[in-house]
């Protein structure tokens, strides 16, 4: 038993030493920090932008990732945090209704598309192909994901037939895209912004889906302890020459804002 205690205690020490070695040395430039709730689907570009911002402005940006729906619940419960990057318009509507948001800035436009494996082995070209019996199709749950809801609206009276033919519904849009990569389904309806994150997938735009446009927004939260600093970072995210250029490079279709004046640190 003593040996076990020794192992566990030494693991704690090794872990703590390791944590010390990788943690950021306290950046005392301004002591300011922002907490950003960010949809997991925007993780890659937002991390890059946050790091840039930390270096240029000297404000620490802590990112908390999650599914948009989960983040809404967290914001509602904890009433903490400065900004919220939501994967869909609907989440913004909800937090506005709850009185949790101040300013809202659009970041990225997205439309539903079909993704298939590179080379399109099942030769999917039209919406009707998704109804073929040899094509396994997945989508996000309409209750949990904006893409599922959008699909349901767009398919209108064909939805019921579509829903019975579906192979699987997943609670997040990235999970269905992942399933196409793994090969457990042949096609999935996802946002074009999601599709852009998957290099190994081919995107097919369908006229039936193209009409629906959704927006990824960043909202300044009411619980923010420092709304001015929060808004400044939100503007930076949306600015053409700053955040938006990173978003474009990651394959997102940007709604770019003007370039704000930022105070870079000396």
């Amino acid at each position: 038993m003593k040996a076990i205690l020794a192992i566990l205690i030494s693991l704690i020490f090794i872990g703590l030493l390791g944590l010390r070695s990788v943690s950021t040395p306290a950046d005392s430039a301004s002591g300011e920090s922002l907490m950003v709730f960010c949809t997991a689907s925007m993780k890659q570009p937002v991390e890059i932008i946050a790091r840039q911002y930390e270096q240029r402005v000297g404000v620490e940006v802590a990112l908390q990732f999650g599914g948009t729906g989960t983040l809404v619940s967290q914001i509602q419960l904890a009433k903490r945090g400065d900004l919220f990057i939501a994967a869909d318009q609907n989440a913004i509507t909800i937090i506005k209704k709850l009185g949790l948001a101040r300013e809202i800035l659009p970041l990225v436009k997205q439309v539903p598309v079909v993704v298939v494996k590179a080379g399109n082995p099942k030769n999917i070209r039209t919406l009707d192909d998704l109804f073929r019996s040899d094509v396994r199709v997945g989508i996000g749950n309409p209750e949990a994901t904006s893409i599922g809801k959008a699909t349901q609206t767009l398919l209108a009276d064909r939805w019921n037939e579509f829903a019975t033919r579906l192979t699987v519904m997943k609670p997040t849009v990235t999970e269905v895209a992942m399933d196409v990569t793994i090969g457990s389904i042949d096609a999935a309806i996802v946002w074009n912004s999601t599709a852009a994150q998957f290099e190994k997938l081919e995107t097919i735009r369908l006229p039936e889906l193209d009409s629906h446009e959704d927006i990824v927004n960043v909202a300044v939260l009411n619980g923010s302890a420092n709304p001015t600093a929060a808004l400044r970072f939100a503007r930076y995210l949306a600015a053409r020459d700053q955040g938006a250029s990173v978003l474009t490079a990651s394959g997102f279709d940007v709604v770019s804002g003007e370039n704000p004046e930022i105070e870079t640190r000396p």
Partner: protein, 264 residues
Amino acid sequence: MMTSDRRTQSFWLALTSMMLIYALFIVTLLVTLAAYTSPADLWAALQSREIRFSLFLSLTSCSISSLLSLLVAVPTGYVLARWKIPGAAVIESILDVPIVLPPMVMGLCLLIFFQTTLGQAIDGPLRFTYTACGVVLAQFVIACAFAIRIMRGTFEHLPTRTEEVALTLGCSRWGAFWRISLPSARKGMIAAVTIAWARSLGEFGPILVFAGATRLKTEVLPTTVWLELSAGNLEAAVAVSLLLVIAAMFVLTLVRILGLEVKP
């Protein structure tokens, strides 16, 4: 005699092959998982500061939460096994709640609790919501329930006679527990720590809800896997999963070998 020997052989052969088939099944799963990544991906994962952070935080938090679990599980298991208190069945069902509830709900419970007046009073000085302490707490709440079950089973199967003899020989109640019960429950305690540690390492749902997935702050290995999957980075997700498996096998094997070593 021959036939009985052969029967014994076939007995062991049947049981061993069942074990080997199952072990092979798990190994196959791991190998197919590994096929989605390469040594280069694994190396790249280890190079990332965020992933190293989550590895260290996983090791620290799991070890702390499994020690805490043992600390609570030993007395609780002993009382449940030895002292027939009225309403024990109800208490036991309450202690099983963290096992029954979906882990994510446990995280939700914690998050909601810490927003109440009482929760705020605790959260003020100690800070659990969205912190590394929250990670440990979320792991502990669930791991402890498993540890209690094991300790209860352990003490139930230990003969009470040795303790009684110690008591008649002038040992105090504390002394009998410390010198007789605890040493004979060694195997059970090792099993409890192992389960608690392993359970904590894989814990994900409650951590995500209660401690969040903040990079370089509350990110543990399962969170990293989920984050990489959410961002569509399958190779990195698989690489981190393998890292998790390697860490777990290393620690658990070490614990088993050293813990069960027969003392001279």
